[in-house]
Subunit: 374 residues, 2 copies
């Protein structure tokens, strides 16, 4: 098996797990946050920056890359790692989520999802087999099953049909999967209905795979609902496989899900917020566009050791955002990614020392505060 | 005197000079290209990038900084170097050029230039005294005299009046100048009229200053006209003072002006072109947006040692531009600045070895070529 998960330790007071994901492109210490590199680049930062930040795995988006520049082009140039000059691990999603969130005129049939590109309106068809084939052509270390993420307001009948179809699609993904370079992860759906979640989890995990994920969270529900559901569902996932909570979330979401036994996360939140001038700090959130920072010589986060906080004042960063300067986006993104990666590093440390509950409580307390001048 | 120029060697076959500009923020090897940091940042790159590129001096724009965030704010935070976390040298222009190129409803009187901000229409007045005061508050190592850059199509009478006024303004700048931290450079105008240039040069250089500049070039005239004029005028400038050709230009413009005895340059060309996907390479210009690069695994410039060329393919860079990704702007800017700074490094080496003419001819030959796939 190309990817192997090693469970090193389980926290004494929670379900939090310390582990290692061994991939063809290096070892990933878990719990891990994966920066999102939608179009073969994490927006506003370079691969040199990501390496310096200590990122061990990036996420790429199948939907975006199949449309532009096309998986065939990337495959012909040696795959995604070589194309983007990134020699550490890569995970690709299946394209399913973007079909629902970005594409136009989508139609779900037993065969798959047909849709129009958000770029030029061209007609496309994604099937379980195509999604696996595209992801294997991209050459990701971890590839995701093609699933349907049903609208959160779906009625129960639609939800049941959708889950049954996603299970059949998973069987087709597993059959199409070459089992060579890329490791296939299955995805559990079911919204906030615990009975459906449990039933789908049993169906998905009956198929032997290198890892499993929870999809369909963080799609509009209240954080408390998501936390409660993940706390019930995550501990039911296979203990000896990595558990990935897709598209989540805030620092509080992350530590809460780690306490439930989740190992892997991805989210655009830190990078997207950064580009809007919103920083995650040890004292809560800081809006760099705020006029109160105009003459503030302090660094964004006094205890942070990232390049931005070691180098620049709030006053300078506020000026860069006010003047619409590109450097603002890189500096804010560097900080937020550092904050997330450092949060996970400290989470791993806390698990190893059997004090994860205390650590998570501290993160919740700090996050609920506001930085004095923010 | 806060800035001291040391002339080390004059090329045997041209007027090209090898020198050193000693400033309160380090030594600048000349001939030098100064990246333009209009709003206290060089667009798309960080101060860490500029340091790694070996930039020894940056340019800041008085007009932009006085409007936003204001020189008083920057001065209150310790000056421009500290504000932007740049401990090497900085030169600021006087604001004169932007008043003519960007501001609205400008009016020139003997007192100075009144105009409306291009940002919010607010009314401002720049005088020789205000310009010097603003630049000293910003704390630049080199500050420029407040001049008028008359429209290139001005009639001779207007031109003569303008030059006489610029001379009177220079006398007022020199009187307002504190002669402390910042070194004041005078600016010679006169368009393409050699008689007016010579006359104004004599007037400007009669005032004893740490350096002198040529303004009013690269404002629409043909390159050959500018080259011919600079070749006549530059050798007449004081030999023991640094000579700065403002707002110029292409690699060919630079080596041609160096051959005439110019020591300092600034231009937005490498950074602005980079953001449009146009790279300067050892084989001529390369347009990264061109579809011919879609599957091209070669680096942009095979002989270049910049981060971009050491790391990324034309195919990847073309994808980043096609997908409007921010990383494209940084990678292209890094390359073009490296190209310009390396051009100047090699120019200095050639002067030291009395082979500048051969070097300049080689640059002209390469620049006139087109990169095979460009």
């Amino acid at each position: 098996m190309s990817v192997r998960f090693e469970r090193l330790h389980v926290d004494a007071g929670t379900h939090a797990r310390l582990g290692r994901l061994h991939t063809p492109h290096g070892t990933v210490e878990t719990p891990v946050f994966m920066p999102v590199g939608t179009q073969a680049t994490v927006k506003a930062v370079g691969q040199d920056d990501l390496q310096a930040l200590g990122a061990e795995i990036l996420l790429g988006n199948t939907y975006h890359l199949m449309l532009r520049p096309g998986e065939e082009l990337i495959g012909g140039l040696g795959g995604l790692h070589r194309f983007m000059a990134w020699d550490r691990a890569v995970l690709t999603d299946s394209g399913g989520f973007q079909v629902y969130s970005l594409a136009q005129n989508r139609k779900i049939t037993e065969e798959g999802a047909s849709f129009q590109s958000h770029l030029d309106g061209s007609r496309w068809l994604l099937t379980p087999e195509r999604s696996v084939q595209i992801q294997e052509t991209l050459g990701a270390d971890v590839i995701m099953a093609f699933d349907e993420c049903p609208p959160s307001k779906s009625d129960r009948q639609y939800m049941e049909e959708s889950l049954a179809r996603t299970t059949r699609w998973l069987q087709r993904c597993a059959a199409a999967w070459s089992r060579e370079r890329s490791a296939l992860f299955g995805i559990v759906q079911g919204g906030l209905d615990l009975e459906l979640r449990r039933r789908h989890l049993a169906e998905v995990c009956a198929i032997e795979l290198p890892g499993y994920a929870l999809g369909g969270y963080s799609v509009g529900e209240r954080p408390e609902e998501m936390h409660a559901s993940v706390a019930e569902v995550a501990p039911l996932m296979p203990e000896d496989r990595p558990r990935y909570l897709m598209g989540v979330g805030t620092p509080v979401d992350l530590v809460t899900a780690v306490a439930a036994g989740i190992d892997m996360f991805d989210c655009v939140l830190p990078t997207r917020c950064a580009r809007n001038g919103l920083l995650f700090t040890s004292e809560g959130r800081l809006n760099l566009r705020n006029a109160t920072h105009a003459r503030d010589e302090r660094t964004p986060d006094p205890v942070c050791r990232c390049y931005t906080c070691r180098t620049h004042s709030r006053a300078y960063l506020r000026h860069l955002f006010a003047a619409d300067e590109l450097l603002a986006l890189r500096l804010a993104t560097l900080h937020n990614l550092h904050h997330y990666l450092e949060l996970m590093r400290r989470a791993r440390e806390a698990i190893g020392q059997d004090r994860f509950q205390t650590f998570a409580d501290d993160v919740r307390r700090r996050e609920s505060g506001r930085a004095p001048a923010g």
